[in-house]
């Protein structure tokens, strides 16, 4: 039996496993990530090349997961202490992993600072630097034209309307923005994640009712998931519930606090390393949301 040790895990995952053991299946396998799926749960085992994601753990391993013999459809047993994939004879020890809170709700001291505009400009620079003809960066830079960006541009007002009105029909219309783009997580999904993250952080920074904001994003995430694939949909739902990638949570804090502007650049670059265009699309969503929620900044 091969044993790997998780050094970090999402606190929410830990809480879920504390209450019950899970029987899951391997949903998809990539070199540095394995996704597991159950009746009511979607979670990931990641290598240290990734930042921690909601409902995931990160293990010490320099070897691709494919090498361990993990394949789609394999059964998975999971408890608070371990993940075991019998058909690959792979045991992941969760006992000593650090439990990280990825919930945006627990971020304290968020505020709108005068440097927010500077920080947004830094993000725009990053989008300009790394944006390409296949992603949604053109919504910020206007440099390229592609059918995905054209369609998202048309539907962006629906998103703004949903956030403003918070009604179910408006949210449902906005959710139809999901599933647009080339990648595994289509570009518009990544944009929505960036947008929702900012909406929650911005609301908190402005002292608005977080309950109201979460009601909107939870429905938006859930409805958007219906328009895209399982993996991307899981990220949207998690984000809707206020669970963010660890680097995204740090970036939200850096944007809505006194943190130095250069930290935003560093974290923005880390976000950009996600996927092919995903990171840049997320930054695009972040910038669009900040600008929209703050009177054009």
């Amino acid at each position: 039996m091969k044993e790997l040790y998780a050094f970090e895990q999402c606190q929410m995952l830990h809480k879920v496993l504390l209450s019950e053991q899970k029987l899951l299946q391997v949903h998809s396998v990539f070199a540095w990530a394995v996704n597991l799926i159950g009746d009511d749960i979607f979670l990931s085992i990641l290598s240290g090349r990734h930042c921690l994601r909601p409902m995931s753990c990160i293990v010490h391993s320099d070897i691709p997961f494919t090498t361990y013999g993990v394949r789609e459809g394999f059964s998975v047993m999971m408890s608070v202490d371990m993940i075991y994939i019998p058909e690959a004879d792979l045991f992941i020890n969760l006992t000593n992993s650090r439990k990280c809170d990825l919930s945006l709700d627990t971020l304290e001291g968020l505020l709108i600072t005068r440097t927010l505009a500077i920080k947004v400009n830094i993000l725009k620079e990053l989008i300009k630097e790394k944006g390409c003809e296949n992603d949604l960066s053109t919504l910020i830079t206007g440099r390229y034209s592609n059918p995905f960006a054209d369609l998202v541009r048309k539907r962006l007002p629906l998103l703004q309307k949903a956030i403003k009105e918070g009604t179910l029909p408006a949210i449902e219309q906005a959710a139809s923005l999901a599933g647009c783009g080339i990648g595994l997580t289509p570009s518009s999904d990544d944009l929505l994640i960036g947008y929702m993250s900012v909406y929650l952080a911005d609301s908190k920074a402005k002292g608005k009712s977080s309950k109201e904001a979460y009601q909107i994003t939870a429905v938006l995430g859930r409805k958007a998931a219906e328009h895209t694939n399982t993996i991307s949909g899981a990220f949207l739902e998690q984000c809707g519930m206020g669970l963010l990638f660890s680097d995204m949570k740090k970036l939200m804090y850096a944007l809505y606090s006194d943190t130095e502007a250069e930290t935003v650049r560093h974290l923005g670059q880390r976000i950009q390393s996600i996927g092919s265009t995903s990171g840049t699309d997320m930054l695009t969503g972040i910038v669009l949301a900040i600008v929209n929620l703050n009177d054009g900044l």
């Binding site: 990539f30 090498t67 296949n134 369609l151 647009c180 990648g183 595994l184 289509p186 895209t228």
Partner: protein, 519 residues
């Protein structure tokens, strides 16, 4: 025209999808291309940019689709090939180091798999084999130390289900032209082999290849299959499989002489095969075989010659010649014999292949009278403590036998122990001739001739320092297509001063000629 390729529930990372998208657009004749997960919006975009086709109705959010607008079918085919190569490139990179750690895992990956190679410690081998049989999977059981009771039970189960258990201790098979374990690179052809002998099979299949013939299947049975306790279950099943195999036109059976009742059963079945069958019961009685209308082989080499002759529709004759020519062999033997001194009277045979050792002893016993060995033909010729003891008179050793392999790899993988013995016996003033085999092919040492050649040089030099000539006679089992190359291996041994013959049988015949010419 618009064409759509759908991959159901296929997840590829974004980098791959982006690469595919960019590469397809660059192809000549592609007017538009779109790659993405089959979400509603992506399908809508496909429609908006003129890539609509009714087939989009079958696409779901979890499917990968590739839509292209192209001039004709040929262009679409080019695009599909490009897609395939890009996805396979990714898949190869993913699979490079992939292995399946459990049987359950392997079956999940490929539910259609129907052959397993099992190499686990003997005490677990029966259980693992049974698991495979329970799942209707044929087995090549490389492991040894499986009890004969376990072997019987496994083979009875396999026989009931029409499955093969090749083994235990089966080292060679070629199934659908795929060499398994120790096997050689041979041409595909119409000669099928069922064999209870590893190096015997390698010798026959390699010689068939050298003679211009080809192999359809090689089914191993394990060395004990034709014992009374097992009843030749796999030999019979293998024979039946080759009878039914349309690619097989000539069948060759290889084994030590079986128990009498088993031999009768096998020969009766072979006689009804409806195809020519060559029987090589090494050292067995040819009269009995021929009484069934079957073709009896005098040696492994003879079996290969006869199988190839039958395959080519030529007349079958006993082959007891020399490839170099009988006259030439006579002259060379005379020349070599003349160099030997009066006190040099014994032959030593040091083999890495058990069957090759057994065959050499059987062919030479009439000439030598007694051959002392760790696998003796006569009980009284058993050599005690073969590994650490000295050779006695005519001594032939199988270095692959258990007492030589305890705590070390098989000599075909690690030939060092045999090489040391060549040097040791080269110092024996009564030793006239050392016979050696050199088995190449998959599984064998990268260059088994290297260490053997070095030891031959040392042995010959030390003999010459004492005023003796040491004759080393070698044969190489393998083919030109093997990773080590037949000719390169032969050349190394010749350069070391060995006389190299093209088969084990010719090597023994040559040594007999030398012995006949000795003073």
């Amino acid at each position: 025209m618009v064409k759509l390729e759908i991959r159901k529930n296929a997840y590829y990372d974004s980098v791959t999808l982006m690469l595919i998208s960019n590469e397809l657009k660059k192809l000549d004749g592609i007017q538009e291309a779109l790659v993405g997960m089959g979400t509603d919006l992506n399908c809508e975009i496909a429609h908006n940019i003129g890539l609509e086709t009714p087939e989009f109705k079958a696409v779901t959010s979890n499917d990968l689709f590739v839509a292209v607008k192209c001039e004709d079918e040929a262009t679409f085919e080019t695009a599909r090939n490009k897609l395939e190569s890009l996805l396979n490139k990714k898949s190869e990179a993913k699979e490079t180091d992939y292995y399946t750690p459990t049987l359950e895992g392997a079956i999940k990956i490929d539910p259609e798999l129907n052959l397993a190679i099992i190499s686990v410690p003997g005490k677990y081998a029966a259980e693992v084999t049974q698991s495979c049989l329970d799942r209707d999977i044929n087995v090549l059981l490389f492991s040894d130390n499986v009890t004969i009771e376990e072997e019987r039970s496994l083979k009875e189960c396999a026989d009931r289900k029409g499955l093969l258990v090749m083994g235990p201790d089966c080292g060679t098979a070629i199934i659908n032209h795929v060499p398994l374990a120790f096997a050689n690179v041979v041409k595909a052809g119409d000669i099928g082999i069922v064999a209870a002998s590893g190096t015997g099979t390698q010798e026959v299949s390699s010689l068939i290849d050298q003679l211009g013939g080809g192999i359809s299947q090689v089914i191993g049975t394990g060395g004990r299959d034709l014992k009374k306790e097992i009843g030749g279950l796999m030999m019979k099943l293998g024979l039946d499989a080759l009878v039914k195999d349309p690619q097989t036109k000539v069948i060759t059976l290889i084994s030590k002489p079986p128990a009498r009742e088993i031999a009768t059963e096998i020969l009766s079945l072979a006689a009804k095969a409806g195809k020519p069958v060559v029987i090589c019961f090494i050292g067995g009685d040819r009269t009995e075989i021929e009484a069934y209308g079957l073709v009896a082989a005098l040696s492994l080499e003879d079996a290969a010659h006869k199988a190839v002759a039958l395959s080519k529709g030529e007349t079958v004759r006993d082959y007891i010649e020399f490839s170099m020519g009988r006259v030439e062999a006579q002259e060379l033997a005379k020349e070599e014999a003349a160099k030997l001194t009066k006190g040099q009277i014994y032959v030593r045979g040091f083999y890495t292949g058990g069957t090759l050792c057994d065959e050499a002893m059987k062919l030479m016993l009439p000439k030598l009278g007694h051959i002392y060995s760790n696998i003796p033909l006569q009980p009284e010729d058993k050599l005690t403590d073969a590994r650490s003891g000295k050779s006695y008179q005519h001594t032939f050793l199988d270095f692959g036998d258990d007492e030589f392999t305890v705590g070390r790899p098989h000599p075909m993988i690690d030939p060092s122990l045999r090489a040391e013995r060549v040097i040791t016996d080269g110092k024996d003033s009564e030793c006239a001739i050392i016979m050696v085999d050199c088995v190449i092919g998959y599984g064998s040492h990268d260059n088994p001739a290297k260490e053997l050649s070095d030891s031959i040089r040392v042995a010959k030099v030390s003999a010459e320092a004492e005023g003796r000539h040491l004759l080393v006679v070698a044969s190489v089992c393998g083919t030109e297509g093997d990773p080590q190359s037949l000719s390169r291996t032969q050349r190394q041994l010749m350069d070391a001063g060995a006389v190299v013959l093209p088969s084990n049988a010719q090597a023994t015949r040559f040594v007999e000629l030398v012995l006949s010419n000795m003073r």
